[in-house]
């Protein structure tokens, strides 16, 4: 039996970041399959983020579970059968909230890092 699977809210920051990145990518670029998504993230992060590409699927699964993305089978550019993921309406709403959250937190962190020794805000 399943014992105490942590709910997504309790997930660590990095995981949350990945979800945010996936949602944003899907919003910006439209439906993508897993491989395509991994490539886009790789390009966007300009190789700063070296992902375990499998974690993209963890994120996709989680987002799908929450109903923020949907998936459908289609044909890829090279005529392979592939599952395409796209953002749902609820996903867009979530993206707005998450983005606001991120901006608030990153703002705090940025200001924190700008804190000069002995100085004040």
């Amino acid at each position: 039996m399943t014992i105490g699977v942590p709910e997504s809210k309790k997930s660590d920051v990095l995981q949350g970041t990945l979800d945010l990145m996936v949602l944003k990518t899907l919003e910006a670029l439209g439906p993508l399959h897993g491989y395509g998504l991994a490539r886009r993230l790789e390009q966007l992060s300009r190789d700063v983020l070296r992902l375990n590409e499998g974690t993209v699927y963890t994120s996709l699964l989680r987002l799908q579970q929450q109903g923020w993305i949907a998936s459908a089978w289609g044909v890829s550019e090279n005529n392979r059968k592939a599952r395409f993921y796209s953002i749902t309406r609820r996903g867009r709403k979530q993206l707005v909230t998450e983005t606001e959250n991120w901006e608030r937190i990153s703002g705090v962190i940025t200001r924190l890092l700008q804190l000069a020794p002995g100085g004040d805000f």
């Binding site: 699977v5 499998g54 963890t58």
Partner: protein, 873 residues
Amino acid sequence: MRGLFEGGQADREFDQEVEAHIGLLAERFVREGMTPDEGRHAAVRQFGNVTFLKETRAELRSFAPLQALGQDLRYGARLLRRSPGWTVVAVMTLAIGIAANATIFSLVQAVLLEPLPYPDSDRLVVPCTVFKRLGTDRGSVAYADIMDWRAERGLLDIVAAYNPSRADITEGAEPERVPALRADDVYFRVMGMTPLLGRFFTPEENLPNGPRVMILSHKLWTRRFGADPGVIGRLVEIFGVPTTVVGVARPDGIWPADAELVRPLGTGGQPDADMLRRDNHVYRALARLKPGVTIEQAQAKLTVVAAVIAKRETNRAETSWKLHSMDSYIVGPSARRTLWVLLGAALLVLLIACVNVANLLLARGIAREREIAVRAALGAGRRRIAVQFLAESALLSATGGVAGVVLAYWGLRALILAAPRDIPGIEQAHVDARVLVFSVGLCLATTVLAGLAPALRAARISPARSFHEAGRTVSGTLRGGRLRSVLVVCELALAIVLLTGAALLVRSVGRITTIDPGVSPEDVLTVEITLPTARYANDPQIADAFDRITAAVRRVPGVVTASAASSLPIGGGGFYLGRVFLEEGQPAPPASTDTEAAWSVVQPGYFGAMKIPILEGRAFTSHDAATSAPVIIVSQAMARKMFPNRSPIGQRIRSWRDENLYREIVGVAGDVRYYSLAGDVPHNVYVPHTQNSWNGLSLVIRTRVDPLSALASVRSAVWSVDKKLALANVQTMQQIMDKDMAEPRLSMFLLVLFGLTALALSAIGVYGIVAYAVTERTREIGIRMALGAARLQVVAMLVWRALRLAAAGLLFGLAAALALTRTIESLLFEVKATDPAAFGAAAMLLVGIAVTAACIPAYRASRVDPVATLRSE
């Protein structure tokens, strides 16, 4: 773990997706210059842990709500299987509760909720006379009343007159008597039915000397005429007179439904003076409300009309009219109330069962506290833990529900066999779709009722506290204990309510059985015989025929004596004279002080055969002939009413029945209950058959053998006088009395059954509490005993707790019972709803059982070996 609701298909697709991804990645590396092998390895490396991914996926997926519920159910089922004893107790408890409800609900639905089978039956009304002095609003009506109702065109569409009667079909080998109806030509229009074959009566056929015709019921047509479509026009002998079959009614086309054939009433044409008398209440009526007119509106208008008539006519004092809707007429208020009370009692039983199962679940919840704490610590939400508990109670109640419905199916059959025949519709009761829906509803309610408290408690468990306490077994007599105690107190209180109700009915039925009916019913056979007027036209012929019949019956071996009377005790008989009995030489008293009485015509020897004592004067003899002085015998109550402080013997009285004929009182007989055991003692008067001949009498045959075994010889004795007489309503006096008691006995039996079930369930509850306290305090008990506490002290300590619970339950229960037993007040006979003996008996029984239930685990605890207990810690 594999999901229930997503198959392997999804798993395979996911594998494909991952595989495709890795493949694409490998291709890319190959394009960038790696060998296929290197590319593949690099791809797998970059992709990361596939197994981990699959696990995550499975975990995420199993979190889907449906998935979780399926899991909870399977987990619950496993738990239940692991403790079969516990499960059987819980399931049976619920099964009994649900069975009781489904059974009674089937009855309620068949008798009270099923609509009548007649078209627009909600517009059918039964107008009756209200006789205030007799305390009935179901009296028969005068034809003049029917004429007044017919004049009310704005309220009533049509009003039919009819009379229940009986008919002897006298052709063929054995004459047969069937219940029948005499109805006028509009009766079938009121019913709103069309004939199945032939036609209904014409107005000419309803004339006093109209042609002899009849309509067969569907039942008689199939039973006796083999559903022959050519039956129309056939001549059938009724009471020896050839009668033409003109029609066959549809099933349910005749009411009262037991009537098997209908003959014209003969009220057509100009009503004669006798029919126009306002106090000649010999008809029954059936009417159809005009569309759009409510029964209340019609009633209000008719009440006004009745009041006007009452002012005008001197013989209308204390009577008015009442319109019954047909269904309220069919199922009288007492049967209605009985059924609702029984359904209420069954619901109480179910409530107790729920409380009991809640208690069982709680006890188990406490035992599982550690497991729950672990799950909570691992992050399971409160809702999820609560759902797990509810899933378990859902499983229990669903299983209990299935078992309950099966039990109800059998229970209902048994109940129908045991129930008195005269509850209409009871034979149609069966476990149908609506009963099943009702049972499913009960299961849902049970799930919540039984599972909610344990679920909420489990959800409240804080991981930290539980870990903290889990190591200490001598902990928390308070943990869950208080809630469980509250539940047991509830259970005991509910049981007290049921037991008190049962005790009241037991006392009441006990009272009824001690009533002296005024006759000695043992070894008395009764048989109804009607002489056909065609062959027995005048009084001397009728009297002579009955004399010959009783004489022939007296010669039958095993017969002690035989006589005949126009009505039988308890059987609801007697021609009731609600009119003045006038003493000779006295002015007529005002209407309100009339002396009314039940009038019976008897043959000599009747008082001896029934063992009715003659207290003063003499019984009738063969010298009381048609030509000798008119005589009458009165009952003791009647004598006291009319002749207080003096002897009635030799006084002369007359009644409406005899018009201006004064009869001399020659004897005073003991009081006999002619209507029912529980009813009032009516005044009775008896007149010799020779001086007032009736063509339909009941033979009363006292035997020295089993009365029913004499039937065959009695029949041939009757047929030795006339081969074409039907022997109808063959029953012993004992059977008549049993029938009269059947309804109170049945409700008593059911309430006692429910009460005992409640008692057993609450005993289990108390037992559980004490047994749990014992396990909880085993160590403490061990220490106490090691320190030298006497065994008795230990037992007393544990029983004391049970006693406190019982006392609390008793207090609340008695209060609730005081409030609730009022609802059964009308079912009681000579017992008050607050009868202290019934309350006391119920209370003592409950406390006794509770203490006994507590003693068993307590006694067991006192036998524990202190050393062993301490060591096991």
